[in-house]
């Protein structure tokens, strides 16, 4: 490339934009950019012109109007008189909730399945292959529908638990008097916070801090003296303070599901709705299968010599996996894991298939229909998903940076 070290003496000529390899790339990129902008502008103008011709306009005023519809799962206060914006927020939180839950369970499932796929046990290995292949190769919408149907069919009707004010002998009893698995969801007791609950909370935090400190102590002792302290005190330190505080103060009581007051449904307690359960399970097992493959790839990427070296030092197989293989495998696993988390978030938009009120169902479904503002709501919806996805990416990239090979 003499051209770079030896610039032509006669300076810049316009023809060099095409003929000179130094500028040609830039020229083409610039032309492509202009073409792209013109195309987008054309589409945008076309849209605006056609909307105007049809007498429609783009306006987000509807977000401030009362939504008028009810939502079955709301993490924040919401009534049918709340605004469309509030309904969108309810949907957004529901999306985040199911995505968060599914990311955690999918990761756990995926790591277990991925590790077990490399198990020396033939049966376990093959079982995991069946899991991965079956779930990976069927569309997630089908899994959502199947699991939704299974939950509906297998659960009892909540009416079977009801006494109808004592007039009827219920066909089923609550499990331990507290839990019920029905075709509308899972009922469990709620925590009733009485006076002094702050103390219990502080005890819980103290327990967690204490447990972490003990683990740190165990590790330091191991590294400094080679002596391995037992791990059971971790659990004692974690649980004892909160149990003691609760026993002494009795601050937190359980509010049990109520089977008497209503004729249709169990009241009170906490209901984890069927739509949430179905969607959460489906997203977890589906994405878990993909993560299992990522994990397997990550483990296989760690050279066999590492395992053999660790074994020759006398480490047991479980410790080899935890201390030698997985930490190195993480470097390979994390980047594709990020895209799986994004997939979970985006796939959660299929929620309406089981009646889960995520943001696609509220803002992009009911609000869109009731207001007829298709373009506005869809643009807003795209913006929401874009922001959520970029945030997840950002967080996971920070984590990736901490496990990546340090290049000094």
């Amino acid at each position: 490339m003499t051209a770079i070290t030896d610039p032509p003496a006669d300076g810049f000529k316009l023809s060099m934009l095409i003929n000179d390899t130094r500028y040609r790339g830039l020229t083409f990129q610039f032309v492509a950019l202009i073409l792209l902008i013109v195309m987008m502008a054309f589409l945008g103008m076309n849209l605006v012109r056609n909307l105007a011709a049809a007498g429609l306009n783009i306006s987000y005023g509807f977000l401030g109007e009362p939504a008028g519809y009810d939502i079955n799962q709301t993490l924040i206060d919401y009534t049918s008189q709340s605004t469309h914006l509030r309904a969108a927020m309810v949907g957004l939180l529901n999306t985040l909730l199911v995505a968060f839950m599914a990311c955690i369970t999918a990761t756990i499932l995926g790591v277990i399945a991925g590790v077990l796929r490399l198990s020396p046990n033939w049966l376990v290995r093959k079982l995991m292959s069946v899991y991965v292949e079956a779930f990976r190769n069927v569309p997630v919408l089908i899994w959502i529908l199947i699991i939704g149907t299974i939950v509906t069919i297998s659960g009892a009707n909540p009416r079977d638990f009801l006494t109808r004010g004592g007039s009827v002998e219920p066909q089923s009893e609550l499990f331990l008097g507290m839990f019920a698995f029905t075709n509308r969801g899972f009922y469990s007791p709620a925590l009733d916070l009485g006076p002094g609950w702050i103390v219990v909370l502080i005890a819980l935090i103290a327990g967690i801090v204490g447990a972490v400190a003990w683990r740190w102590h165990v590790r330091r002792t191991l590294y400094n003296s080679g002596r391995l302290l037992p791990s059971w005190p971790t659990w004692v330190i974690l649980i004892a303070p909160v149990v003691l505080a609760q026993l002494v103060l009795g601050a937190i009581s359980l509010s049990l599901p109520d089977v008497e007051s209503n004729n249709f449904n169990i009241q009170g307690g906490i209901l984890i709705g069927k739509p949430l359960i179905a969607l959460w399970l489906a997203l977890s097992v589906y994405t878990g299968a993909f993560i299992a493959e990522n994990v397997r790839a990550g483990i296989l990427a760690v050279s066999k010599g590492q395992t053999e070296a660790a074994a020759s030092l006398g480490l047991r197989p479980k410790r080899i996996m935890n201390l030698v293989v997985l930490p190195q495998a993480l470097r390979v696993i994390i980047p594709p894991l990020i895209s799986q988390f994004l997939n979970i978030t985006k796939n959660s938009s299929l929620a309406i298939a089981v009646g889960y009120a995520d943001i696609t169902a509220t803002l992009g479904g009911i609000t869109l229909n009731q207001t007829g503002r298709a373009i506005e709501t869809v643009l807003l919806l795209m913006l929401f998903y874009l922001i959520i996805s970029l945030l997840i990416s950002a967080v996971m990239n920070v984590y990736n940076a901490t496990v990546a090979l340090k290049e000094r």
Partner: protein
């Protein structure tokens, strides 16, 4: 998946809307087929039969319009739409008219820029519950789980009804009637709510219809009718007066059986003559052949015949005429004069 559909409709809406705003009649004639939006399947109103032919009350209207415009009641392309997709389909020009038990409301007429061309069924929202629940009134539904088709006016009526009666409920939003039926039968909800006619039609397809009751309360007015896009008044007039012709035909005693005879030569009744084109030039005024109404009536009979054949008391759906009787029989059907 959902998103790509939306984007598709979005671009389609953008590109086609301008072109399709006017002269729907010319488009239909050039195409040789009427694109008519119907439900994805509600027995009695619009559903394919065992041979795949669309049958039903709304379908009958589509066929009448096709017969009036194109002379052939089978020149219809039926486009199944859900509560969610119907308005985009119409706005984008994918369909020429929508006959999908759609409630005529202020905001749909004005804000969504559609034109309702009449009412072919006066309906109201009702509730269906399993008989074993022992519920006799909708006021007893406090705490119930309710299956509801999403994107419909029933969704809003339901919220209003429970709020004004100080009751709670758990909504289960569902996309189509078929899914709602399945969820209701599986016990995922205690109550199914939609238009009373829809409830009757749905119940008729159950294995044991007798185990379910439709509660007496009708909580809303649901005037259902065909609609077209704003801005093409000629086309709107054709759909409106085809419906009126069917209604007037019943009032005047013109049926599919005698319409050919009556159209053969001018009779004693001048209004019948004008409708059937043996007197005056109404066909010319509306931009169609002189015998447009004859063909529309021949397609599936007059309003009463369509009603009896598809949803009347002798069908499994078993709806009585009620509000949908002629005004002369104490109902609300009242066609403006053909003059």
């Amino acid at each position: 998946m959902k998103k790509s559909v939306f984007l598709g409709t979005l671009t389609a809406a953008g590109v086609i809307a301008g072109a399709a705003a006017a002269a729907t009649l010319d488009d239909v004639k050039a195409r040789g087929k009427l694109n008519c939006g119907v439900t994805t399947g509600l027995v009695g109103f619009a559903a394919p039969d065992a041979n795949g032919n669309w049958q039903g009350f709304d379908v009958g209207l589509c066929r009448a319009v096709a017969a009036a415009v194109l002379g052939d009641p089978d020149a219809v392309e039926f486009v199944p739409t859900t509560g969610k997709t119907r308005f985009t389909a119409l706005a984008s020009g994918e369909i020429d008219m929508l006959a999908r038990n759609t409630t005529w409301t202020f905001s749909r007429d004005n804000d969504l820029k559609f034109e309702f061309t009449g009412i072919n069924y006066y309906d109201g929202q009702g509730f269906m519950v399993p008989k074993e629940l022992g519920v006799t009134s909708a006021k007893e539904l406090d705490g119930a789980t309710v299956c509801i088709q999403t994107g419909t006016t029933t969704e809003l009526n339901l919220a209003d009804f429970f709020r004004s009666n100080n009751m709670n409920y758990e909504p289960v939003p569902i996309e189509t009637n078929a899914e709602a039926q399945q969820q209701y039968l599986a016990g995922a909800c205690d109550v199914y709510t939609t238009d009373a006619s829809g409830l009757a039609a749905t119940r008729a397809t159950f294995e044991t219809p007798g185990d379910h009751v439709v509660l007496p309360e009708i909580i809303s007015k649901e005037p259902l009718g065909p609609l077209v896009r704003h801005g093409d008044n000629e086309w709107g007039d054709i759909v409106r007066w085809t419906l009126n012709a069917l209604i007037a035909a019943e009032e005047l005693g013109i049926s599919s059986a005698n319409v050919a005879d009556m159209a053969g030569s001018a009779g004693d009744n001048p209004e019948i003559n004008r409708i059937l084109g043996t007197e005056g030039n109404l066909g010319e005024m509306i931009g169609l052949e002189a015998d447009w109404a004859v063909k529309a009536i021949q397609a599936g009979g007059n309003y009463g015949e369509l009603f009896e054949k598809n949803i009347g008391e002798n069908t499994p759906i078993g709806l009585s005429r009620g509000l949908n009787a002629q005004w002369t029989d104490g109902g609300l059907l009242y066609s403006p004069p053909f003059r």
